[in-house]
Symmetry: D2
Subunit: 172 residues, 4 copies
């Protein structure tokens, strides 16, 4: 199990308004280009720890159901990271992933400030799409709280479908 | 099409911390009990207007995908309301609806401050569950942006499954 | 009092990823350029109706305190609109407003699904900044729930300070 | 510097709907009562790491300004925790803290997925209120992004002002 918030070198470079950054990040974060991307993603699953925030609860006393997909996105980000990439690097290189399908099954409520394990599994990659499944459990007891799945499409900066980057879907 | 924010008399009475309200609402909002609930829900579909807020966008320049389920919940609330009830009244009478399944298909991005039509359809009611489907379109052009569905379970204040209220699922 | 969600013609044109829009808005929303901006803002105050959403509550049974600034931003948007402009039009013309100061005093809790009046007052405009104050009251009783203030700086698309647009701060 | 997400034993016990929990936490999390609270809070400052989430950005490409107060609340939670308490334990014992004042000065934008240091300082405690100040910096460079302050009032489960718990404001 890898904790969510380990140390890593990231490069935060975006588009458009990112030039708004008055104090640019230093060369501690050099730009990485496509050639320097990892050769291949190899790790298909990653578990992170989630601690529900107070504002994520609702007046029923549980975490609001719309928060889970936010956590799923965090899970995808960390799965990508253990494979050697920050999502922000992808965006900088004109590679965007947009969610086209999302499904969640809620089994039991999650509560404020408890420790949860979110496992994110990359279940399938095609030349245009990537599928993930998610499993949210209570730490300690391992009780299943929710399951989910999503499909992301790879698009360019204009929103047009584009081929999956080589390191995720290598040409034969 | 019914605008989302028409005038209505509501009764805001919750549980627990609601006693925190220092200035209670006046008798302009008398408590309504189960006996005074509508006899039967008759309206199965309702369309409301959604205007994406600035904070609902993300750095890709579009509405973040986790916001749509928030809108779906607003749709359910308004569908209930045109049938004569505020969800807060249900909670006050010990009737809770919890989301057990959610699915969304994202067709096209939604943008800040544009006018959208969200149609919420109650597609099925059993003695324990209620299913909705959702259709989000751009106003004017009618372009489909997203579709969704959800299943809600009826539970009591302890979270135990309970029978659907009579007015939603009448005994024969 | 002007309801928040009246009908208006807006123009949604952004930067960057906005080209992602596969189905562009029709000429029903023609682009407006600086020359066509209103000559002068004249309306200094605007009241909109706010209905707290379920996900905006927390487990204390009240609206979470971080939601109020979201509403304040909605108030500013509508105040700008009654003066003849959509904020999205400003961004399209390279005029951005960034929040540099924010203050809120919370007087009484707000509850799910009740009707609130948010009054937004433009209290001061200089060549570089605009100040607003906010007053949130319960409809019907008029009980004061919160007060706030903010200072926005005018910047260009690179985040550098720029002069306030002419129609907001006319040169003598 | 203490990372935000270290391991701790917490007790998640709330009010009301918490009975909704179908699978109660085990005795791994025994209830703690007021007598077992720490004798005195001694640590007045705590720094946690914040990583902005994708959905916390807006279409200007930066973290939306309303997210900072969410982080401040996380900072308070962790400051309380290093003093030996989970906020959820306080609520269970009928001790609530409600935000009555909030102020933020935004110096520079924060970006998606960068590492930030949030320092939370308990600057003053009276018999009824507790004041905090906040300092948000970019890790590595130490560049100041935002400063803030808040005042919290101590109330009981009915929302009435009550005396600060002994361990936070000892009687002489």
């Amino acid at each position: 199990m890898v904790e969510c918030f380990n140390c890593w070198k990231i490069q935060i470079i975006g588009r458009g308004k990112k030039t708004m950054r008055v104090n640019p990040r230093t060369d501690e974060y050099p730009a990485r280009t496509l050639e320097n991307f990892p050769v291949c993603t190899k790790i298909a699953s990653q578990t992170i720890t989630i601690i529900p925030r107070y504002n994520e609860t609702d007046q029923a006393g549980v975490v609001h159901h719309t928060v889970y997909p936010v956590w799923f996105e965090m899970g995808r980000t960390e799965l990508l990271r253990v494979n050697g990439l920050a999502y922000s690097e992808l965006e900088k290189n004109g590679i965007y992933f947009v969610v086209v399908e999302l499904a969640v099954k809620y089994r039991r409520p999650a509560f404020y400030d408890e420790k949860l394990d979110l496992e994110t599994i990359c279940s399938r990659i095609t030349s245009a799409r990537v599928e993930h499944s998610y499993c949210l459990k209570r730490q300690g007891t391992g009780v299943l709280l929710a399951e989910g799945s999503s499909i992301l499409a790879c698009v360019d900066s204009s929103g047009r479908p584009r081929r999956m980057p080589e390191f995720m879907y290598p040409e034969k």
